[in-house]
């Protein structure tokens, strides 16, 4: 099929960017979205033009590197009936003659590095702020030595599937990183191993979230609607409950 691409080109972090149009004539509907971009880049390289920079690693929906906004929707989810990452989106979701607009994540905390590549290290700083949990390392402990209620273990496991892709931030009208942060909070706060540092962790991660320039949550729900891992919106309420409770505890006070 024939596809017209309008892609955000930006030479570097400080350059002005703008949308550029490209024509692709022989796109197969079997291609993934990234393979279609590979095709474009082959053409550009052959024509001595600078290829479009975009991020990826696994191309199987588990590393979280490949996020871009497609037709105004993070990971192009809007065009697809199922949750997806960009690398798992296929050209069969589009039609011959379509015009597809492609932009990088846009958020104060995720500066564009080049074209479609953004710097998501703000997420790493939130994770770092979360600190450690009190478990012994070394040989694996006996699995039944610490009982975890099934319901809570399931919830923790679901939250742990967050791949840190940043779609939630990209889709948020406030550029908030609350779904991501709350996924990490929900993951550890529902497990026995996460209890000793629970109150300190939520304070530190919420503080790091704000310090890194993410906006505030308005409970709109755009984040959960584009999340490739279906992290539920109620994770944010879990974070809110824990943070409010933590305000009445001394953890994290200056000594």
């Amino acid at each position: 099929m024939k596809i017209t691409l309008k892609i955000w080109r930006q030479a570097n972090k400080n350059a002005e960017g703008s949308m550029h149009s490209y024509q692709l004539d022989n796109v197969s509907e079997e291609m993934s979205f990234l393979e279609m971009l590979d095709l474009l880049n082959e053409n550009l390289t052959a024509g001595d033009e600078e290829p479009v920079a975009f991020d990826y690693d696994c191309r199987e929906g588990i590393c979280g590197m490949c996020g871009i906004v497609i037709n105004g929707s993070a990971h192009g989810r809007y065009e697809s009936p199922v949750p997806t990452t960009t690398c798992q989106l296929h050209m069969r979701n589009f039609h011959d003659g379509d015009v597809i607009e492609v932009e990088p994540w846009r958020a104060g905390a995720f500066p564009v590095i080049k074209d479609l590549v953004v710097d998501r290290s703000a997420f790493d700083r939130i994770i770092q702020a979360g600190g450690y949990i009190s478990v012994n390392t070394g040989s694996a402990p006996e699995a039944h030595s610490t009982p975890a209620p099934k319901r809570l273990a399931d919830r923790a496991f679901d939250a742990a599937t967050c791949i840190g892709c940043g779609a939630c931030v990209a889709a948020c009208p406030n550029g908030a990183g609350m779904l991501f942060t709350s996924a990490k909070i929900t993951h550890l706060d529902n497990l026995p191993q996460g209890q000793p540092e629970r109150m300190l962790r939520v304070k530190a991660m919420v503080a790091a979230h704000d310090d890194n320039g993410f906006g505030g949550c308005q409970n709109i729900g755009e984040c959960a609607s584009v999340c490739p891992k279906e992290i539920p919106l109620e994770s944010i309420a879990q974070l809110n409950r824990d943070l409010i409770a933590s305000l009445f505890r001394g953890d994290g006070r200056a000594q």
């Binding site: 009208p173 503080a207 409970n219």
Partner: protein
């Protein structure tokens, strides 16, 4: 950005989440007030005496003799103003954080979930605030008196005079509609901010309740002015 002199605890107290929690509490206080106010207004359908007696009791006798005559209304007014000022102050700080958080604009955006009410929380809230000032200038201070003479002890006839004019009713209809939209998203948002959204079931319940409270406020507030305009109360 990072201010290193604050402890983690102090940062948590100043966090967006904590600010939102305070916004939620003050917002819910204001919703409770609106529900009471709306219910009180319906006295207009009982009789002029009932309405004026109720208004007088609010202003002079409520909580007497625990408080001296006329104290309650002032304490209550101060409480409401403090809530409203806090609510608006936090709104301004969070709005600023969001402008930075959002970063550059998308060339194209495709929102899946955002409702009109959610989108208009800030500009709608500001509109609401301005109309509220208009409302207070009319019935509380008597600065603007379209179609009525200001009379502290006869609010019934102020009500009648004002709402006999179609344009006053129209402005009120807009006012109430704006309030209703703010409450529609605000009610759900407040409970979620306070942590009540424990799962998909809770989300449905909170949203249904939000629609119910918003609709109740709209109908309850618009009925008395409409009845006056249509000559059903005179």
């Amino acid at each position: 950005m990072a201010s290193t002199s604050l402890s983690v605890h102090q940062k948590a107290i100043r966090s967006n989440v904590a600010k939102k929690a305070l916004m939620a509490v003050t917002g819910l206080v204001l919703i409770c007030f609106l529900l009471m106010h709306m219910f009180g207004n319906l006295k207009i359908f009982v009789s002029p005496e009932a309405y004026n007696y109720y208004a007088d009791w609010l202003k002079h006798d409520l909580l007497y003799p625990i408080l001296p005559h006329g104290w309650f209304i002032w304490l209550f007014r101060i409480f409401l103003v403090v809530c409203l000022v806090l609510h608006i102050y936090l709104m301004a700080i969070l709005w600023n954080a969001s402008l930075h958080g959002r970063g550059a604009k998308y060339v194209r955006k495709n929102r899946k979930e955002q409702t009109l009410s959610a989108k208009l929380m800030r500009w709608g809230g500001i509109t609401l605030g301005l109309l509220l000032v208009f409302h207070l200038l009319m019935f509380t201070t008597g600065t603007i008196t379209p179609g009525f003479a200001y009379a502290v002890h006869d609010p019934y006839h102020m009500f009648l005079g004002a709402f006999s004019q179609w344009w006053v009713v129209l402005i009120y209809a807009i006012f109430v509609a704006v309030v209703c939209m703010h409450v529609r998203h605000g009610f759900w948002s407040a409970f979620t901010t306070l942590g009540a959204n424990v799962g998909p079931g809770a989300r449905t319940v909170l949203n249904v309740l939000a629609y119910f409270v918003a609709a109740l406020l709209f109908v309850g507030f618009i009925l008395p002015p409409l009845a006056v305009l249509l000559g059903m109360v005179s």
